[in-house]
């Protein structure tokens, strides 16, 4: 079993020792980074530090050296974003810092995505994300999107103030098996239920797993509306998306 000293990058060692508390997360990250190339560790650190210029430069450098795009994405970008998500959940980072980290990840993905598309590599899943009708708030939804992308999902963001028909159209157009709905207002929360009913009426409810979230939303409310899952924060949303996809495949 790998130990923290097997990780070459000192910043990564410090990050794990200072900010990670859950044993399974510590173990997983030590395992991941101890086997990752030095350059991948550097990319992960640049993501954690929100340095988009450095991520851009290092990602290009790694690809120029012939390192596989998938490896750069998994061991560098996604691995770094994994640490960011944990620090956000534990209130070591706040939204401005997470936005900068997501911007850094995006700078790397700009080089990775065309290669993956060309080679036909499939993402772990496609998620439709939107804020329900009557609600213009999007920061919670956008944080979920950043974390989902950071975990390797392809996310189609349909925006704010979206009607049931717009959610249905997006799911059909993308052939997505996962849908996420957000609401910040108690006045717009019921529109999540309206949208779920619209999927039932359209005969599409069994084709898509629906997750919901937002400040006033609770597990109880999600259950009452007939959603498949509720995420209380952005990291929870990623875990839920992975879980729902697994359930979907069983």
């Amino acid at each position: 079993m790998a130990t923290i000293s097997d990780i070459h990058n000192a910043t990564l060692r410090d990050e794990i020792e200072e900010f990670l508390e859950r044993p399974e997360e510590i173990e997983r990250n030590i395992e991941l980074f101890s086997r990752a190339r030095l350059l991948m560790q550097d990319i992960a650190v640049a993501v954690i530090e929100g340095d988009d210029g450095q991520v851009d430069r290092l990602t290009r450098g790694a690809l120029d050296q012939g390192i596989e795009a998938l490896e750069v994405m998994d061991d560098g970008l996604i691995a770094g974003m994994g640490i960011v998500g944990i620090k956000f959940r534990e209130n070591f980072l706040f939204v401005p810092e997470v936005l900068a980290c997501a911007r850094a990840m995006k700078a790397g993905m700009a080089h990775i995505e065309p290669i993956l598309m060309e080679s036909g590599v499939k993402p772990i899943g496609t998620v439709i994300m939107g804020t329900v009708k009557g609600d213009l708030h999007d920061i919670g939804k956008n944080l979920c999107i950043m974390m989902l992308r950071g975990a390797g999902f392809v996310v189609v963001d349909i925006g704010v103030d979206r009607s049931p028909d717009e959610f249905i159209d997006a799911v059909e157009e993308q052939g997505a098996r996962l849908l996420g709905m957000s609401a910040l207002l108690t006045t717009t929360m019921p529109n999540m239920g309206t949208t779920i009913e619209a999927f039932i009426d359209a005969g599409l409810r069994d084709d898509v797993q629906i997750m919901v979230g937002g400040a006033p939303v609770t597990q109880e409310f999600a259950d009452d509306m007939g959603a498949d899952g509720y995420g209380k924060d952005a990291l929870d949303c990623v875990a839920l998306a992975k879980q729902l996809l697994t359930d979907d495949r069983v």
Partner: protein
């Protein structure tokens, strides 16, 4: 007896029923004394954000969206917090969008059953230099609506009830004008530019605040959403503490700072600003919040909106009111603008519990 008569009857009776060393006060006196952390005859009940509900709109025959844009309707709906619910304050500014509308933000005024919102995905500013306060800012219909509503309420209720106005802080105006994500990224990338923007936007807060005081407001709510859900306590200290101190110096009325979400990590800083009160969220317990502010600022709050007032019943509301009373929170009320579908019974339970609690204490004092 209609609800209005019932509420007034209760208020006048309570003063006789609950003897204390403090002589009976009007609602206005009670709220202003509590904001000054002076003795009160009983704990005031107030919501410095909004008490509008669909049910109250029906009772007042004043509906969203017009009640956000027409002074008579705004005043009529606002007055129900006193006449129908028996709260000690009246807040006519139900939303957080009046200034932003006057500044030229794109608006969605919505319908009876939903809040008006700024289209923050279509920002109007990119740089601090873009922030221009129009010469006729105070003459815009969404500004004069508030000023006229305050004048109407002052004429009708001014001797009895605290009329509370609302002026948005520059951090919230930043979300509206720049968009949430661009503004937060700017705060990380370029602190000097962010301070420049805040300095320009604070003039909007001062202008609207002073105008409301001149119109008759007794106090002002000052929402500035540097919430723990978005930014750190250190951010509050770095960007807003000194600015809020300046607001206290320049706006000549008690200010009630409102920030949603988890805020305990910044309550110590907030307590140092000189604000009269902090309107706090149910994500912070009354006990830890009272300890954090250490008697340096009054607290208003913190009955949970979505899970209690909106979804549960009077028994659960009572529990939360009692918890606040027991630790000495100075003004009791919902944590934020209440959901528009909140049942009236749950709102009535707040002043009812406060009065009962004081009655029981008075009886207990008499026996001992």
């Amino acid at each position: 007896m209609c609800r209005a008569e019932s509420a007034r009857w209760e208020v006048s009776t309570i003063s006789k029923e609950f003897p204390s060393s403090v002589p009976p006060m009007t609602s206005r006196e009670r709220v202003l004394a509590a904001l000054a952390r002076q003795p009160v005859d009983r704990t005031p009940v107030a919501n410095p954000t909004s008490l509008a509900t669909v049910e109250l709109m029906d009772l007042a025959d004043a509906f969203f969206p017009d009640a956000n844009r027409e002074p008579e309707l705004m005043a009529r709906l606002a007055a129900t917090s006193y006449t129908e619910l028996g709260f000690d304050s009246i807040m006519p500014v139900f939303s957080i969008v009046q200034e932003s509308s006057a500044l030229g933000c794109k608006m969605q005024w919505e319908q009876k059953d939903n809040w008006p919102t700024v289209r923050m995905d279509e920002p109007i500013w990119e740089e601090p230099e873009n922030i221009v306060i129009p010469d006729d800012f105070l003459d815009h219909r969404d500004i004069t609506c508030v000023l006229e509503a305050i004048q109407l309420l002052k004429r009708q209720f001014g001797d009895d009830v605290a009329i509370i106005g609302k002026t948005m802080g520059p951090w919230t105006l930043g979300y509206h004008g720049f968009g949430v994500e661009p503004f937060l990224l700017m705060s990380l990338d370029d602190p000097a530019k962010t301070r420049d923007a805040l300095d320009r936007m604070k003039e909007i807060s001062v202008a609207f605040g002073v105008a409301q005081i001149e119109a008759g407001a007794d106090a002002l709510t000052f929402p500035d959403h540097a919430t723990g859900d978005l930014v750190s306590g250190d951010y509050y200290d770095r960007y807003l503490k000194d600015l809020h101190i300046e607001m206290v110096e320049r706006i000549p009325a008690p200010l009630i700072l409102h920030i949603c979400g988890r805020t305990v990590d910044r309550m110590g800083f907030i307590a140092e600003t000189g604000m009269a009160a902090f309107h706090y969220d149910s994500k912070n317990s009354p006990e830890e919040s009272m300890e954090a502010v250490n008697g340096e600022i009054a607290l208003v709050g913190n009955i949970n909106n979505p899970e209690t007032l909106f979804s549960k019943g009077p028994a659960e509301v009572r529990e939360e009111v009692l918890r606040n009373l027991e630790v000495g929170v100075q003004l009791i009320g919902p944590e934020c603008a209440i959901p528009l579908q909140t049942p009236i019974e749950n709102l009535l339970e707040i002043p009812k519990t406060v009065r009962t609690w004081h009655a029981e204490r008075a009886v207990s004092r008499t026996r001992h």
